[in-house]
Amino acid sequence: MKSSWWKILTIALLAYTIIAGLLLDVPRLPILNETIRALYFHVTMWFGMIIMLIVAVIYSIKYLKSNDLRHDDIAIEFTNAAILFGVLGIVTGMLWARYTWGDYWSGDPKQNASAIGLLMYFAYLILRNSLTDVHQRARIGAVYNIFAFAAFIPLIFVLPRLTDSLHPGNGGNPGFNAYDLDSNLRKVFYPAIIAWTLLGTWLSVVRVRLKRVERKIEDKLINQIS
């Protein structure tokens, strides 16, 4: 019970995000209207994704330093969860864009950049699956993960800011601060980031444990035979 407090917190925060996110008052704004609620889901999922990717990179670095497969488990599972959130983020973003910009895909720089970012991480999964030796897979996977992240950062944070984006807060569009005069949005926004990140962590932790159990069983089988 002691160690599961954060799981209870996750459920509570998620419930709060969904209920408050859908029911609380939001600023009435032209064009955005009720779709401003996408802020609680779409934007926060991206935040969660980036936090999880950072965790994955940290564990990749740890793996390269220690050669301990347990670090690699964490790195790959956090990346998996981040990819899930990335896909959800891009889908929710497309739905939102359909109603605000008029098209699922409008060629917005941020949209393009995030699609490319996802390609990068899909390539990472394919690279890992194409290697059969466990240690080699972990090592080369870690190298590519760090390398891809180094390219991911300018792609997501620098390039879209050099051109005008349709996103709120870019290219002359008013952002968060302009809408949120009474800080009502923030009351849901920040808890939602924590909630999605915790959910991702939960997913990854379960999968990491599953992976370790599988490895243990495998080792046992191999030892029995020889």
């Binding site: 390269l64 490319i116 970012g117 390609l119 990068m120 899909f122 390539a123 394919i126 690279l127 194409s130 290697l131 240690h135 080699q136 090592r139 080369i140 870690a142 190298v143 590519y144 760090i146 390398f147 891809a148 180094a150 390219a151 950062i153 300018p154 792609l155 620098v158 390039l159 050099l162």
Partner: protein, 221 residues
Amino acid sequence: MLQQIRTLILKELTLEWRQKYALNGILLYVVSAVFITYLSVGAKQGNIGVPTWNALYWIIILFSAVNAVAKSFVQEHQGRQLYYYMIASPEAIIVSKIIYNSILTLVLALLGYLVFSVILGNPVQNQGLFVLNLVLGGLGFSACLTMVSGIASKASNNATLMAILSFPVIIPILLMAIRVSKNAIDGLDWSVSVDKIITLLAINAIISATAYILFPYLWRS
């Protein structure tokens, strides 16, 4: 270290010179690719718009560079790699490969530029900026592709892996290079492109530094 790098670059150059078929193959690749695009777009001289010219040029350079660099860790068999492993530090190897591949990419880019100018017309107004941009783009391409070819050479199914691993990583460099090159073609003032060139330099620096730090781990396995 510097001594090692110089020796390794010289080694790459002599190796390339002795096996001329690889070099000639990739040069011919560029020429045929340009000719195929020329015929496919059905453009007579000067008929093609500036953005299209620019995009076609960079796509051809990208694909030729991928093909040229892909072999950098594959062409030498394992025994010889083990030999390098014993006599040279991994840092020296990656730096020498990056420098050598930059030279190769630059040669390809210049050749592509020449062929493009001859058959598709040359709309570039600011030659200095265009060539400077080629140098920077070539450096970025080669840093990224060298590292990725090192990664891909460890796995089977090399050619596909090389493409899918490198394309998303190379896109920031490609986008910046295309933008600067568009400015150069339009003959805009240098001051317009300065911040973009600095961004390109910064991305190059990030990619090269990561490659430099990570390569020893890759090399060891």
